[in-house]
């Protein structure tokens, strides 16, 4: 009796949360796939007709936005690694007793709404605003110089918004590097550079990979930065999906675009996870 009960306990504990995820995450994802093969419109209703043309139409019309999303997301992610690594390194190895204080400072932006932070950048970077205004007055920049409405502004915004999600996983990986291993490399006459390149960096790679996931996925599918900081030449696939779903209300096109985005990202993630061993990615992502 007791053992039977013990055997069922974990399932009972998992049931409510598991059901919630199954009903409101797994099933809607399947319905998304189903919807993407339907024809019809809001007024006349939708029929499931295996309409693969939704995909070919959506892709042939919007492939520039797809490519742009991957480019912007990729650039922001690479910039994120370059900017975050030294910070994570310094906090992990030299932060001393203040490690959690530094991490807290890195996380401060999360206490302000994402939309509000992005609008704040729009304000800071505006054509005659706090940053560009004085530089233009001083004659250091031509009067028609602008950052808003360019890809620089959008990629900068993406890099900014997801940076904490890069610092944290790299920090966690570096923090777990056994100091004894680093010490051993010094005892074996490695220079600081060598022990970084051959010992510390390889051990931090799971963190970098987790950071890449946590940056690339949301950055490539973002539409807030492109809308607030970019111009008509900077629309990303997220802007199109948002517009098709909420303004045009063309659900078959919107779902086909979403499904394509999701599949592209999933294939990338699984290739990644395979190359690395799933367990490490899951662990790093879980932290």
């Amino acid at each position: 009796m007791g053992s039977l009960r013990a055997r069922f306990t974990p399932y009972a504990l998992m049931l409510p949360g598991g059901l919630w995820l199954a009903i409101f995450f797994v099933i809607p994802t399947l319905i998304l796939l189903q919807f993407s093969l339907m024809t019809g419109n809001e007024a006349d209703g939708y029929q499931f007709t295996f309409h693969w043309q939704n995909y070919s139409d959506a892709l042939s019309t919007y492939y520039p936005q797809f490519i742009r999303s991957l480019e912007y997301g990729g650039t922001a992610t690479v910039l994120g690694i370059a900017l975050s690594y030294p910070v994570a390194y310094w906090i992990a190895f030299k932060g001393g007793a203040r490690k959690s204080t530094y991490l807290f400072l890195i996380l401060l932006p999360f206490f302000v709404s994402f939309v509000l932070r992005t609008i704040s950048w729009q304000f800071l970077l505006s054509d005659n605003g706090m940053v560009l205004g004085p530089l233009k007055d001083a004659g250091l920049l031509p009067p028609d110089f602008h950052i808003l409405q360019t890809s620089v502004a959008v990629v900068g915004g993406l890099t900014y918004n997801y940076l904490p999600f890069m610092v944290l996983p790299i920090y966690v990986a570096l923090e777990r590097v056994d100091p004894g291993v680093v010490e051993a490399s010094y005892d074996l006459y490695s220079s600081r550079t060598q022990s970084f390149l051959k010992v510390i960096f390889p051990l931090s790679l799971p963190g970098v990979f987790a950071g890449v996931l946590m940056n690339f996925v949301p950055a490539a599918s973002d539409y807030v930065n492109a809308e607030v900081l970019g111009g008509p030449d900077n629309t990303m696939i997220g802007n199109i999906i948002q517009d098709q779903a909420l303004t045009v209300r063309d659900y078959p096109t919107a779902t086909a675009l979403s499904a394509t985005l999701m599949l592209a990202l999933l294939v990338g993630i699984f290739a990644y996870a395979r190359a690395l061993g799933t367990e490490t990615v899951l662990q790093a992502a879980a932290r």
């Binding site: 995450f25 940076l163 010094y186 220079s191 979403s258």
Partner: protein, 278 residues
């Protein structure tokens, strides 16, 4: 008599103690630069809540005033949006914390058939782009003819914050000393009694941290809410729809208050966790 001269033992040259004091100082300065960069937009938001705005656009400094703090609730649309955000955040945090805690305990404590699948689903829920989640939920609710509104927003928020609570609780459960629970059972406590009186107090810092995380994610969420909201406007949605015409300074004030509240809660929780060793 010959003295045998033993050659002095060959001393291995001591490995050079690597040091890079300058490098450390550069990294220190760089870290602070990045922190400043991260906090710059927050500083601007706070500062311009104290601005004597003239006209429609709050984009030039005209002098210090506390007027907007006194009149923070004057714009009914904005106030309603903040209320909606708070209702949704409280409701979804309560549900997500309850469900996520049970899930976290199950995942941290037991090895069982299917825990791989559950890990995978949670991982997928964390790594699926928000816009795809939003789109899926819209497709789902449209198919079922569920009208979009509070209910659909709360369902969505519970769905994506559940995993964060579960992950936080699980990592706390993994650090627990199980013998304490066994002692409780040996002393005659029932399974339920052990959970409420022993396990829950021990994992409480993980549970509150998870709840805070869920609350923060909910009150800040834009993308999924934008898709599932229907006619309801939350704080971020109100900002989004009004930004083209210039945002009133009350938005800065509310943003500042949410920021201050969040920071204080997080610090309080961290201090409480420190005082209560695992």
């Amino acid at each position: 008599m010959t003295t045998t001269l033993t050659p002095p033992p060959v001393q291995p040259p001591t490995p050079p103690k690597p040091r890079a004091k300058l490098g450390d100082r550069l990294l220190f300065g760089y870290t602070w630069l990045v922190i400043l960069w991260l906090c710059l937009p927050i500083g601007v938001m706070i500062l311009f809540g104290f601005n004597q705005v003239q006209g429609r656009y709050n984009n030039r400094w005209h002098g210090f005033t506390l007027e907007w703090y006194a009149h923070v609730f004057d714009l009914s649309g904005l106030t309603n949006a903040l209320e909606a955000s708070l209702i949704i955040a409280v409701a979804s945090t309560l549900i997500a914390t309850a469900l996520g805690t049970l899930l976290g305990v199950a995942l941290g404590r037991y090895r069982f058939r299917g825990d791989g699948t559950s890990n995978l689903v949670q991982f997928a829920a964390i790594s699926t782009p928000e816009i795809v989640m939003g789109m899926s939920l819209v497709a789902f609710f449209v198919q079922l003819d569920v009208p979009l509104g509070y209910l659909t927003i709360i369902i969505a928020h519970v769905m994506f914050s559940l995993s964060f609570v579960a992950v936080t609780v699980r990592s706390r459960v993994l650090t627990l000393d199980r013998s304490v629970e066994e002692a409780a059972k040996d002393l005659g406590a029932s399974a339920m009694g052990t959970f409420w009186l022993v396990t829950l107090p021990m994992i409480l810092p993980g549970v509150t941290a998870g709840a805070l995380l869920a609350f923060a994610i909910s009150i800040d969420d834009f993308v999924v809410t934008n898709f599932t909201a229907g006619n309801i406007e939350t704080f971020p949605l109100w900002i989004w729809s009004s930004q083209k015409n210039g945002l009133p300074p009350q938005v800065n004030v509310m943003g500042t208050l949410i920021f201050a509240g969040g920071v204080l809660l997080a610090l309080g929780n961290a201090m409480a966790a420190r005082r209560r060793p695992a």
